[in-house]
C-alpha cells in the first residue's frame, strides 16, 4: 500500500513537473526512503557524496541544478555525513538574485555552518545587501540567516539595518527583525542594551503576529530582570484579556481556541512578573480566572493553557479562588486516562504543593498509581513530586523508594540526579543517625562514582562535625555506627572509589575512637583495601593516611609497645610490605605519604600528639605566617654577628636616595590590575590650546571660562549641579567653548588688522565684560550660509546671566511676544520652504527613530525658558520691533538677552532649529558681513521674535545645556579665511550627516589646499561618529534623567554625544590637523604661484552657485516679509479703527513704514 502511494505521488509530481526535480534527485530520495537499514543508507549517502564531489565543481551548472545539488548536500549532512566540500557552493547560492535560490542558499548555510565558521564572513556582506532589498521576502530570508549566523563580532555590521527594519511596512519583516534583535540580545546583551525599548514598542504593534513574536524577547528580558518591566503588567493583562476574548484574527485560532500559544507565553510572563509581587498579581486575578472558566478542557491545547494557568497561579501572589480552580483542574488531570494529562497533573501538583500541602493529600492514590506506573517518564515526574513533598515524617518511605528506583535504572544522568536528591533529603530529614548512615551507604554503593565528590566530602564533614547539636554522645554514636557499618561493607567487592575514600577516612579518624575495634583489626582492613584497589591511587592515599592516623593515635595513647615494628605483632607483615611498596611507588604523593608514615611513627609521644591530634579534623589549622617561633634562633644568630634581614623592597632602595625609593614603591603599588575606575578626563585647558596659538590667546583662553561662571551670579546652581553628578552620564559642560570656539581659529582672522585685538577682546570680554563695539566674535552657525554672525559682548554677558537666573523673566516680558503669533507663522513657512534636511531636528520629537544629527552649536534641543507674561501691549511690541530693526545700537543693548533666550527656548512643536536660525540672521543684521548680509535679515527680525507664549519652566540640567550653548556662542569661532571655513564647515557637515548639503558650495569655493588632510579628517569623523552613535546609550541617559520629559532627554542625549564627540575630536587631534591645514592654506595664499586653475574655476562656480542660492533664498524671504508686512498693516489698520484718537498709532505707523522702507533699500542692495 505504501509503495502504491509512493508511486502515485511520484506520478503526481511528474505531472506537475514544475518542481523541476531531476530523475537523479527523485532516485536518490527514493533509495534513501527505501533503505531498510542504517548501513544501506550509509552506502547510498557515501555514493552520493562521491558523485556530488565530482559534479558540483563542473563548470556551467544551471542554477536550478545547483539548487538541487545543495539540497542533496543537505541530505548528506542530515543523514550524518560530512558535506563540507560543498559549503562554499551554498554560500555562493546566497548571492543569487533569484528569491528561491537565495532562500535555499541561506537555508543550506544555516544548516551547515555555525556562527563561528570561516565562511560566515563571506555571507555577512550578502546579508547586509539583502537587508536593504526592496523585495520583503528577500529581507525575510536574510533576517532568518541573521538569526542563525550572526555572532557577537558581526552584530555591528547588521545592527543598524535590523533596527531600521523594525519600522518596515511588512509585518513579516518587523517580526523577523524583532527576533533578530532577540538573537543579538542572546549573543551579546550589551550590543542591544540601548535598543531594548524597541521590544516594548513592538508590543503595541498593529499586527498580532509581531506582538506575539515580541513576547519571546520580552519573556527573556523579564526572566533576567522582572522589576524593570512591572509597568507592563497592565499591558500584558489587557493583551491577554483581548486574546482570550477572541479579539485576534481568526487565523490565530487553533482548535477553536484563540491564539493559545500567545496566551501561554503571556501567562508565563505574568507568572514571572507576579512572583512575589502582590500588587502586580492583583491585576492578573480576573483574567486568569476568566481563562480558567473559558478554556475548553476537552482538547489538548485547552489543557495546555489550563496547565499554564496553574503555573501562573502557583507563581503569583496567592489567591484562594484561583487556587481552588487550579486544584480542580489538577484533579481532572490526575483522574484522566491520558498519561500525558496525568504527567501534567503531577507536575502541576508539584507546583501547588508548596502553597497548599493538603491538595496532595486528596490525590494520594492517584500519585501512588503514577509511582507504580510502568511509564518511566511518569514515574520520574512523580519522584520529583515526592521530592518536593518530603518531610521528616515520610522521608524514610520516599528515600527508600527513590533508592530502589535508582538501583533499577541505567540512565547515569538520572541516577546521579536522584542520588544527590536522596543525599539531600537524608541530610535534611534523617530521623536517626543509623538510618542516615545506612542510606548514605546504599546511595554510595549503588550510585557509586556517579555521586558528586562533594557529597562524599559533605558526608565526611557531617560525621566529623556531627549534626550540629551539642550532644557529644550523639555524635560519637553516629561515628561508631558509621565505623561499624563501614567495617561491615568494606569486605564487599567492587566498591566505588568515592565511597572507599569516605570509608578510609572515617576508619582512620574514628576507627579506634570508641575502643570497640582494635587498631590491628582496622589497620588490617585498611591494608586489604589498599591492596585490592591497588590501581586506585586516591584510595591508596586515603588508606595510607588512615593507617598513619591510627598508628599515631595508638602511640599517643601510650600503647607504644604494641605497635613499633620491631616488637609488635600488630605491625602486620602485610602493612610493612605495603609501606615498603609505596615508598617505591611511581606516585610521588603515595611515596611521600609512606615516608611520612614511617617518619611519624618513629617520633616520640609528644611530637606525635601534636602532629596527629585525635579527633581534630574539624579544628582549624593555624599557620604562623610571621614564623615567630624562629625569633629566638634569629636573635642568636644576630648576636653572633649575622646581618639582619632586609625586606626586598628596602634592599633595592638602599643604594639610592630616598626619593627614588618612593618612586619605586609607587611603581610597586601600581603593578597589577587597577580595580578602581580611571578618573574622568579633565578638560585640560593647556592641551587643548593648540601649539601655534598666539601667546596672548593662550594666556587668555583659560581665564574666560571660570570667570564667566563666576561673573554670573545666577548661574551659581548650575556649576554645582554639574559637579555633583557623580555618574558617568554627567554632562561635562565645562570647557565646551574651547573645543569649538577655539581662539586660535580666530587668530588668523580674515581682517588681519584687527585680528590680534580681536583675540584679546574676545578674552577680555569674558573677563571684564568690557563692551567693545568693533570686536567681532564670529560664530559658526550650523547653517553655513550665514556662518558669520556677530554677537556683541554686551549680549553675551547678558545672555550668560540670563541663562542662570530669574532676571530673564523680566526681560522676556519687556519684549514683544504677541507679534510672534503673526510672524511665527511666517517664519514657520519659511522654514518649511527651505531644504528639509536642515530642519530635520525640528521633527526630532515627533520621530524618535529619526537619526538625528549630533548636536550642533545651534542645536539646542528642547530647553525651555521661563514663562512669559501673556498680555503685552501690542503697540509696544510693535514699536520695539521696529526700533530694533532701525537702530542696531539699542537693539544690541536691549534685545540681545532676549534673543539668546529665544534661541534657547522651544516653541511647543520643538522647532528649536527654527528659532535658532532667525537668531543668527538677526545678528547678521548687526554684523553686516559683506556678501552674506542682506536686506531680508531685517525681515527675519520679525521672525526672531518668534516666541511661544506658553513656555514651560526648565530643570537645572536644561539650564546647563543653555549655558553651554551660550558659551559656545560667546567663544564663537571667527573664521579666518575660506579655506578654514571650508574645513570647519566640512567638519560640521560631516558631523551633521544630513544637514546643509545644499549650502556646501558656498564655502568650498575658497578652499584650495589640504584635501588630503580633509580626507583624513573625514575618516576620523566617520570613525568618531560611528563610535559615538554606537556607544552612547540613550537609554542610560533616559534612566539618569528619568524625571525629564522625553524631549528634554533627547536634547541632553544630543549634548552628551556632542561632548563625547568633542573629546574624540581631541583624541584624533582634529585641532592640530586643522591648524596645519590652516597654515598650509596661509602659505599657499602667500605664494602667488600657487593657484590651480581648476580650483579657481571651482571657486567661481561654487561662489556663483552659492550666490544664486542666496538670492533665491532671499527672494523667498522677501515674499515672506511682504506677507508679514501686510499682516502688520492690517493689524495696525484694525487697531486704528478701534482707537481713532490714539495719537501713538501714527508714530507707530511712521516707524513701521520707515522699517519697511529700510527693508526695501536693503533688499535692493543685494
Amino acid at each position: 500500500m505504501e509503495q502504491l502511494k509512493t508511486i502515485g505521488r511520484e506520478l503526481a509530481m511528474g505531472s506537475q513537473g514544475g518542481f523541476g526535480q531531476s530523475k537523479e534527485f527523485l532516485d536518490l530520495v527514493k533509495s534513501i526512503g527505501e533503505a531498510r537499514s542504517k548501513a544501506e543508507e550509509d552506502r547510498i549517502v557515501l555514493r552520493e557524496i562521491e558523485s556530488l564531489k565530482r559534479r558540483i565543481v563542473e563548470p556551467g551548472i544551471p542554477k536550478r541544478k545547483m539548487k538541487e545539488y545543495i539540497i542533496r548536500l543537505v541530505y548528506v549532512e542530515m543523514l550524518g555525513h560530512d558535506a563540507s566540500f560543498g559549503y562554499i557552493h551554498a554560500v555562493k547560492m546566497t548571492h543569487d538574485d533569484n528569491l528561491v535560490l537565495k532562500r535555499t542558499g541561506y537555508l543550506a548555510v544555516t544548516l551547515f555552518l555555525n556562527e563561528d565558521h570561516d565562511l560566515i564572513i563571506l555571507i555577512v556582506n550578502t546579508i547586509q545587501k539583502d537587508l536593504k532589498s526592496d523585495n520583503y521576502l528577500i529581507v525575510c530570508a536574510a533576517l532568518n540567516a541573521v538569526c542563525k549566523l550572526i555572532n557577537e563580532e558581526t552584530i555591528p555590521a547588521v545592527l543598524p539595518q535590523v533596527v531600521e527594519l523594525l519600522g518596515h511596512s511588512k509585518e513579516a519583516v518587523r517580526k523577523k527583525a524583532i527576533m533578530a534583535l532577540h538573537r543579538f540580545y542572546h549573543k551579546s546583551p550589551s550590543s542591544v542594551s540601548h535598543l531594548l525599548s524597541n521590544f516594548r514598542k513592538k508590543l503595541c504593534d498593529s499586527d498580532p503576529g509581531v506582538m506575539g513574536a515580541t513576547l519571546c524577547p520580552l519573556f527573556d528580558l523579564i526572566t533576567n530582570d522582572a522589576n524593570s518591566y512591572k509597568d507592563l503588567v497592565v499591558s500584558f493583562v489587557s493583551i491577554l484579556k483581548q486574546v482570550a476574548e477572541h479579539r485576534l484574527p481568526k487565523a490565530y485560532d487553533y482548535h477553536q481556541l484563540p491564539a493559545p500559544f500567545i496566551q501561554i507565553r503571556l501567562l508565563k510572563i505574568l507568572a514571572l512578573l507576579g512572583s512575589g509581587d502582590k500588587q502586580a498579581s492583583e491585576h492578573m486575578y480576573t483574567v486568569v480566572g476568566d481563562i480558567f472558566r473559558k478554556c475548553d478542557s476537552s482538547s489538548n491545547i485547552g489543557n495546555a493553557v489550563l496547565y499554564e494557568c496553574i503555573c501562573c497561579v502557583s507563581s503569583i501572589h496567592l489567591n484562594p479562588k484561583l487556587l481552588e480552580a487550579a486544584a480542580d483542574v489538577i484533579a481532572r488531570f490526575l483522574k484522566s486516562d491520558s498519561h500525558n494529562l496525568k504527567y501534567m497533573g503531577i507536575d502541576a501538583l508539584g507546583r501547588l504543593i508548596k502553597l497548599s500541602p493538603e491538595i496532595a493529600e486528596q490525590h494520594q492514590l492517584a500519585v501512588i498509581d503514577c509511582l507504580e506506573d510502568p511509564d518511566d517518564t511518569l514515574k520520574r515526574k512523580t519522584f520529583e513530586l515526592l521530592y518536593k513533598m518530603t518531610k521528616s515524617s515520610n522521608v524514610e518511605v520516599i528515600v527508600d523508594r527513590m533508592i530502589d528506583y535508582m538501583i533499577s535504572i541505567n540512565d547515569n544522568h538520572y541516577k546521579t540526579e536522584i542520588a544527590s536528591r536522596c543525599v539531600e533529603l537524608a541530610e535534611q530529614f534523617a530521623p536517626s543517625n543509623h538510618w542516615f548512615i545506612q542510606t548514605m551507604n546504599k546511595v554510595f554503593e549503588h550510585a557509586g562514582d556517579l555521586v558528586n565528590i562533594k557529597v562524599a566530602h559533605n558526608l565526611m564533614r557531617l560525621i566529623a562535625e556531627g549534626f550540629g547539636e551539642d550532644d557529644d554522645t550523639a555524635d560519637s554514636q553516629l561515628r561508631s555506627s558509621a565505623v561499624e557499618s563501614y567495617l561491615h561493607i568494606i569486605g564487599e567487592p567492587k566498591l566505588p572509589s568515592v565511597f572507599l575514600q569516605v570509608i578510609c577516612w572515617v576508619l582512620g579518624e574514628y576507627g579506634t575512637a570508641d575502643g570497640k575495634f582494635s587498631a590491628s583489626y582496622i589497620t588490617g582492613k585498611l591494608c586489604d583495601v589498599a591492596e585490592s584497589y591497588s590501581s586506585d591511587e586516591t584510595v591508596k592515599g586515603y588508606a595510607v593516611t588512615a593507617l598513619m592516623k591510627i598508628y599515631a593515635f595508638e602511640i599517643a595513647a601510650g600503647r607504644k609497645l604494641d605497635i613499633l615494628p620491631e616488637n609488635s605483632v600488630i605491625w602486620h607483615m602485610e602493612c610493612q610490605s605495603l609501606i615498603e611498596e609505596l615508598s617505591a611507588s611511581h606516585s610521588t604523593d603515595l611515596q611521600q605519604r609512606a615516608y611520612e608514615l614511617q617518619a611519624v611513627i618513629g617520633l616520640d609521644v609528644r611530637a606525635i600528639g601534636s602532629i596527629m591530634p585525635s579527633d581534630a579534623s574539624c579544628e582549624d589549622i593555624e599557620v604562623d605566617k610571621s614564623l615567630s617561633f624562629l625569633n629566638g634562633y634569629v636573635e642568636k644568630s644576630l648576636e653572633k654577628g649575622a646581618q639582619s634581614y632586609i625586606p626586598e623592597n628596602e634592599r633595592f632602595g638602599m643604594v639610592n636616595i630616598s626619593n627614588f625609593r618612593n618612586q619605586d614603591q609607587l611603581e610597586v603599588t601600581s603593578h597589577g590590575l587597577r580595580f578602581e575606575a580611571y578618573e574622568l578626563p579633565k578638560p585640560s585647558v593647556q592641551s587643548r590650546t593648540p601649539p601655534i596659538s598666539v601667546a596672548s590667546s593662550t594666556e587668555l583662553v583659560p581665564v574666560p571660562e571660570p570667570s564667566y561662571y563666576r561673573e554670573t551670579p545666577q548661574t551659581a546652581p548650575v556649576p554645582s549641579s554639574t559637579d555633583t553628578g557623580p555618574s558617568g552620564l554627567k554632562l561635562r559642560l565645562d570647557g565646551v567653548q574651547k573645543k569649538w570656539g577655539r581662539p586660535t581659529y580666530s587668530s588668523s582672522s580674515a581682517s588681519t588688522s584687527n585680528s590680534s585685538s580681536l583675540k584679546v577682546v574676545n578674552g577680555v570680554t569674558q573677563v571684564d565684560g568690557v563692551s567693545s563695539g568693533n570686536s567681532k566674535t564670529h560664530e559658526t552657525s550650523y547653517d553655513s550660509r550665514r556662518p558669520q554672525v556677530e554677537i556683541s559682548e554686551e549680549k553675551q554677558k547678558l545672555a550668560a546671566s540670563l541663562f542662570g537666573g530669574s532676571s530673564k523673566t523680566e526681560r522676556r516680558s519687556s519684549t514683544g511676544h504677541k507679534v510672534a503669533k503673526a510672524s511665527s507663522h511666517a517664519s514657520e513657512k519659511f522654514h518649511t520652504s527651505k531644504s528639509t534636511t536642515i530642519y530635520s531636528a525640528d521633527n526630532a520629537v515627533e520621530k524618535p527613530n529619526l537619526v538625528q544629527p549630533p548636536p550642533d552649536l545651534l542645536d539646542l534641543g528642547e530647553p525651555i525658558v521661563a514663562s512669559s507674561a501673556p498680555s503685552v501691549d501690542p503697540f509696544r511690541q510693535l514699536e520695539e520691533l521696529l526700533d530694533s530693526t532701525q537702530d542696531p545700537g539699542t537693539f544690541g543693548g536691549t534685545k540681545a538677552p532676549d534673543f539668546m533666550a529665544l534661541y534657547a527656548e522651544t516653541p511647543a512643536g520643538g522647532r528649536s532649529a527654527g528659532v535658532a536660525l532667525p537668531l543668527s540672521l538677526n545678528r547678521d543684521g548687526d554684523n553686516l558681513i559683506p556678501g552674506l548680509s542682506n536686506a531680508s535679515s531685517n525681515t527675519v527680525h520679525g521672525g526672531t521674535t518668534v516666541t511661544n507664549p506658553s513656555q514651560i519652566s526648565k530643570g537645572p540640567n536644561v539650564k546647563e545645556a543653555l549655558e553651554k550653548d551660550a558659551l559656545v556662542r560667546q567663544m564663537g569661532v571667527t573664521p579666518s579665511d575660506l579655506g578654514f571655513t571650508l574645513l570647519l564647515f566640512l567638519l560640521r557637515s560631516r558631523y551633521m550627516e544630513k544637514a546643509t548639503s545644499s549650502a556646501a558650495p558656498a564655502k568650498i569655493g575658497g578652499g584650495g589646499g589640504g584635501s588630503r588632510r580633509q580626507s583624513d579628517l573625514n575618516r576620523s569623523f566617520k570613525l568618531a561618529i560611528r563610535s559615538l552613535l554606537t556607544s552612547c546609550s540613550k537609554q542610560e541617559l533616559a534612566k539618569a534623567f528619568s524625571n525629564f520629559s522625553n524631549a528634554e532627554q533627547e536634547s541632553l542625549h544630543r549634548l552628551f554625544i556632542q561632548d563625547e564627540f568633542e573629546s574624540l575630536c581631541l583624541e584624533t587631534q582634529v585641532g592640530t590637523a586643522l591648524e596645519t591645514v590652516e597654515q598650509l592654506v596661509e602659505e599657499k595664499n602667500l605664494d602667488p604661484l600657487f593657484s590651480e586653475k581648476s580650483n579657481i574655476m571651482d571657486a567661481v562656480q561654487n561662489l556663483s552657485m552659492a550666490k544664486r542660492n542666496e538670492i533665491h533664498y532671499l527672494m523667498g524671504m522677501l515674499e515672506k516679509a511682504e506677507e508679514q508686512n501686510r499682516c502688520l498693516q492690517d493689524r495696525v489698520e484694525l487697531l486704528r479703527q478701534k482707537m481713532p484718537d490714539d495719537s501713538g498709532i501714527s508714530v507707530v505707523m511712521e516707524k513701521f513704514k520707515s522699517g519697511i522702507l529700510s527693508y526695501g533699500t536693503c533688499s535692493d542692495g543685494i
Binding site: 539540497i71 542530515m78 500525558n340 517518564t377
Partner: protein
C-alpha cells in the same frame, strides 16, 4: 530558548528532517539522534508523549510512519509543544494536501521554510497558517 531542536524520523529511525536551534557538531547530532530516537521509538501508545533526556525533554508525536520529535527546555509546556507539532502537521497538510513522509523528503527545503516561519531562536513566533504559508506560496509563484 525553549525549543532546542525539531526532528522528523521515520519508524525505522531514519532522519527525515533535522533542525537544531543550538549548534551541535555532526558527531553530536548523530549521537543525540541515535539516542533519543531509540528511546522514543521504544515507547508504546499508552505511555505519555514526553521523555526526559539529560537536562531537557523530548516531546514526540507519531503520524503514521513518521515521528515528530521536539527537544525542549525543562520549563517548557509539554502539552503546548505537542499541539505545536500538530499545528506543524496541519500546516504541511494544508500546503501539500494530505502530507506524507515522501512529501517532506521531496520538498525538504519547503518543510524547512515552514519551520523557519514558525520558529525563530527556538521560540514559536507564528501560529497562523496563512502567515506561515504565504511566503512559500509567493515563492512558488515566482519560480
Amino acid at each position: 530558548m525553549g525549543i532546542r531542536f525539531i526532528l522528523m524520523v521515520n519508524k525505522q529511525g531514519q532522519t527525515r528532517l533535522a533542525q537544531y536551534y543550538e549548534w551541535l557538531t555532526l558527531e553530536e547530532r548523530r549521537a543525540l539522534e541515535g539516542e533519543i530516537v531509540r528511546k522514543c521509538l521504544a515507547r508504546n501508545d499508552q505511555q505519555c508523549s514526553f521523555v526526559e533526556h539529560r537536562n531537557y525533554k523530548i516531546v514526540y508525536r507519531r503520524y503514521a510512519s513518521l515521528f515528530f520529535l521536539v527537544g525542549v527546555d525543562n520549563d517548557e509546556n509539554e502539552l503546548a509543544i505537542l499541539e505545536f507539532i500538530h499545528l506543524l502537521v496541519e500546516t504541511m497538510d494544508r500546503h501539500f494536501g494530505n502530507v506524507c513522509e515522501l512529501d517532506i523528503m521531496f520538498h525538504l527545503e519547503k518543510a524547512h521554510f515552514m519551520l523557519e516561519e514558525m520558529v525563530m531562536n527556538g521560540c514559536i513566533v507564528e501560529t497562523s497558517k496563512c502567515n506561515i504559508l504565504s511566503p512559500i506560496q509567493l515563492m512558488d509563484k515566482t519560480s
